[in-house]
Amino acid sequence: MIKNNTQGLVPDEDQALIDGIKRGETGLFETLVDKYSPRLYNFGLKICKSREDAEDLVQESFINIFRYVKDFRQEASLKNWMYRIAASVCWKMKRKTGSIKEKDLSLEELMPDHHASPEQVPPAWAHEPVAQLLNQELSGQIQNAISRLPTPYRLVLVLRDMEGFSTDETADILSITPANVKVRLHRARLFVRDDLKEYYEHRP
């Protein structure tokens, strides 16, 4: 492993890929696609509104990756750099479709009213094992809630809680502060939690 300048490590295999591509071994682009397209496609599915948009995001991301990989300076890991490109493509696609301004999430609105609905004990689903809860229906319910999050919140929740990036890595990928990541993440989680709470309360 080669130690990175800032955070994380560049795995040997990624280093070899980058070095090979920089030397002009274009065949290695295919290796890069094989290795990272599953991650970028699933990232796209989580942050885009449709499968078609996710596919467009992956293609546009790889076009940019191929274009700029020769200038990649290893200030971040290759994986983080690719996610930074994908996140920026996501914003570009959003601007292109002229999507309307999204509503901000207010902490006040997400805070349960202790006096109006005093939930004194956690509901049963909070204690059930994940494997028992997470069927196709619930997965769909969660993905639907995530898709209704305003984009800045959705990106943070997906990167932190689904793609496994740390607070600092997420801040770096999205070019925002770690404090901002924490604020957005908390509100995004509360939004999804509210949706799940409602789902379980109205289940037959």
Partner: protein, 81 residues
């Protein structure tokens, strides 16, 4: 569990529940929140449901890349480079 306590601190601690779960707070704040949770059923219920929400999000299964997309990507490599 004391259900008759003053909820004044709930709002302040509610804002920090994710950082509490992610262990991103200092020891003093963690201790204060832990103490509050022991006496506040509402905040404790919120914490437990929030933890489960995070676990559920983390465990949603990935989907395979459609073969048509893989084909398009390979085609793109051959024709653009």
């Amino acid at each position: 569990m004391n259900t008759d306590h003053n909820h004044d601190m709930c709002k302040a601690y509610f804002a920090k529940l994710s950082e509490f779960i992610d262990q991103e707070l200092g020891d003093d704040v963690c201790r204060d929140i832990q103490k509050h949770l022991e006496s506040c059923g509402c905040c404790n219920a919120c914490l437990e449901t929030l933890k489960k929400t995070i676990q559920l999000c983390a465990n949603i299964k990935d989907k395979p890349v459609p073969s048509e997309l893989s084909r398009k990507l390979k085609h793109m490599i051959r024709h653009r480079i």
